[in-house]
């Protein structure tokens, strides 16, 4: 589903002494079926931006278009229900989206709210809980009697159970253990491909942005600061550092090595294997027998 933001501006607490301009004239198009990563330092406006995508926040100026649905500053009748059916958001803090007595009811709520039968919703809930790596025992527990990472997984299960067409993820792996982080990111990516989802990932992991995204948007003080493919964006190290970001750790390491060894090296992807290969070659070029 194509998404277009035109002159999107958001002010919190307008016309009060606490007014804060959180988004400033954002223009952005996200192609249906693409995977977009949004990066940017703390307070740059990422969460504010994505909360417009399902109408939780309303633009102060400008418009947002999701498929044939439009949300605008002036609009009287906003298509919220339809928007929320299409766009599923995993919030930055899972506690903000969990509410029901049990995990099972919590995950079933979304689908049932959009007309799925109770039986089917239950089936989905059970399947999703397994998919996010939780044991079936948690279904009868209160979502608030879980560990932080377990809550995160329940929140993800709840959003996936709604089978949205647009999947919006606000730091979905914060709080997950390293194995879970990899598994859940791979799960999102698999669903993205299999179901042709449009996926928007807000992340502080430059590695995930490099690995999964087709395009990256860098936010800075409520504006789009940089935009492009991962290799285009991560070519701009100085610009990123000025926005208090950096390149992925593989590239950081390679640059460090390049400086030491005084050889010009290029990385074609950002994986560890690729980095190791390039460094091993730099041994080879010296006529060293170690490298194959």
């Amino acid at each position: 589903m194509d998404i277009t933001l035109t002159g999107l501006t958001h002010r919190y607490k307008p016309k009060t002494p606490f007014e804060r301009l959180a988004l400033d004239d954002i223009h952005l198009s996200i192609t249906s079926g693409s995977f977009l990563a949004i990066i940017g330092h703390t307070g740059s406006g990422k969460s504010t931006l994505i909360q417009h995508l399902n109408g939780l926040l309303k633009p102060s100026e400008g418009t947002m278009q999701v498929g044939n649905l439009t949300l605008s500053a002036q609009g009287k009748k906003q298509p919220l229900k339809e928007l929320r059916r299409r766009v599923g958001i995993v919030f930055q803090y899972p506690e903000h989206q969990l509410f029901d007595e049990t995990v099972e009811k919590d995950v079933m709520f979304g689908p049932m709210n959009f007309g799925v039968s109770e039986e089917q919703a239950r089936q989905r809930a059970h399947a999703m809980i397994e998919l996010v790596g939780l044991p079936a025992e948690v279904l009868t527990k209160s979502p608030f009697d879980l560990s932080g990472g377990q809550m995160r997984r329940v929140a993800i299960a709840g959003v996936l159970a709604m089978e949205p067409e647009v999947l919006v993820l606000d730091e979905p792996t914060a709080g997950l253990d390293p194995k879970g982080r990899r598994e859940i990111m791979d799960l999102f990516y698999r669903l993205h491909k299999e179901k042709g989802l449009t996926t928007i990932l807000v992340t502080h992991s430059m590695e995930d942005a490099a690995h999964y995204a087709d395009r990256i948007v860098v936010m800075e003080q409520g504006r789009v600061y940089l935009e492009g493919t991962p290799s285009e964006v991560f070519r701009e190290r100085e610009m990123l550092q000025r926005a208090s970001l950096d390149v992925p750790e593989t590239l950081q390491f390679l640059l460090e090595w390049q400086q030491r060894s005084k050889q010009a090296l290029t990385l074609s992807s950002f994986t560890i294997e690729d980095t190791a290969r390039v460094i091993a070659q730099s041994f080879g070029e010296k006529g060293d027998e170690h490298a194959r």
């Binding site: 919190y12 330092h41 803090y93 606000d170």
Partner: protein, 279 residues
């Protein structure tokens, strides 16, 4: 080294649960150290945190902090003023309607005089780079800004032990480094003991000591070098290897004859350089 916290044979079971969240746990925390605790989701890390300042009481075993027992009601206050916890979800920690009030609240509780209070508030908020937001409402900050404020609240209290329960998980990479540096400074200059619960293995690799939790038990304890040797255990515990170890292994696979395991990037670059110069 002086033992600050002693956890002896501690088990804990939440009411209405059939499984124990912690099982027969024994560990010590020493004065001035930086201890990292790692482990899979649900392994009992946050539960342990709550036991350490007496928010929860062990169902078996004993916990003491600088000699004060968490199980004795008249000693609980002495425990709490020594152990400052930055909780996993900062929203649960905020009480004030502005950042300033919020930090003040914790200090009022400890009877800090007014003049000193003002000083400490400004100082701690500045240390986490949130001075521009001192009048903002904590609940209306961005995710990472909330974490910074939660940390300021604890720093201001000057506890002898700071526990960070994934307190930097929402920060951008540079912000995370900055905040860790700030706490590191307190650790080194003022001898504040730090327990950092984290899923960031790069950060854990820089600790003095690491404990690996798994299913409510401490499965491994030691220096990062010792603990990260055991790849098998780490994977079983839902973890992974830190970046430099992984890259080191990949380099060996590519035929670069590295001899040891290098747990920081600096060590790895140095080792590569030595090899390269010899080659």
């Amino acid at each position: 080294m002086k033992e600050l916290i002693t956890v002896r044979d501690v088990s804990f079971q939440y009411p209405n649960e059939d499984k124990e969240a912690l099982r027969n746990l024994s560990l010590s925390v020493y004065k001035g150290e930086w201890l990292a605790i790692v482990g899979h989701n649900g392994s009992g890390k946050s539960t342990l945190t709550k036991l350490l300042n007496g928010l929860l009481l062990p169902t078996a075993g004993e916990i003491s902090v600088e000699g004060y027992s968490t199980a004795k009601e008249d000693e609980l206050w002495d425990v709490r003023r020594r152990v400052g916890i930055v909780f996993q979800n900062p929203d649960n920690q905020f009480v004030g309607t502005s950042v300033r009030d919020d930090v003040a609240f914790g200090l009022e509780n400890f009877g800090v005089p007014r003049d000193e209070m003002i000083q400490r508030i400004e100082d701690s908020v500045r240390r986490v780079n949130m001075s521009a937001f001192i009048d903002a409402e904590p609940h209306h900050l961005s995710g990472g800004q909330k974490q910074r404020v939660a940390i300021a609240g604890i720093i201001a209290q000057k506890p002898s032990i700071i526990i960070l329960d994934e307190a930097t998980s929402m920060l951008d990479p540079m912000g995370r480094k900055e905040v860790i540096e700030t706490v590191k400074e307190l650790n080194e200059k003022e001898g504040i003991t730090v327990i950092s619960i984290t899923h960031d293995l790069e950060e854990a690799a820089k600790a003095d000591r690491v404990i690996v939790m798994m299913q409510g038990e401490a499965k491994s304890q030691g220096t990062p070098r010792e603990v990260f040797q055991n790849e098998q255990l780490l994977l079983e515990a839902g973890l992974d290897l830190p970046f430099s170890l992984k890259l080191g292994l990949a380099l060996k696979e590519q035929g670069v004859p590295l001899k040891e395991q290098y747990i920081t990037q600096e060590e790895l670059v140095d080792a590569l350089w030595t090899l390269h110069s010899q080659g």
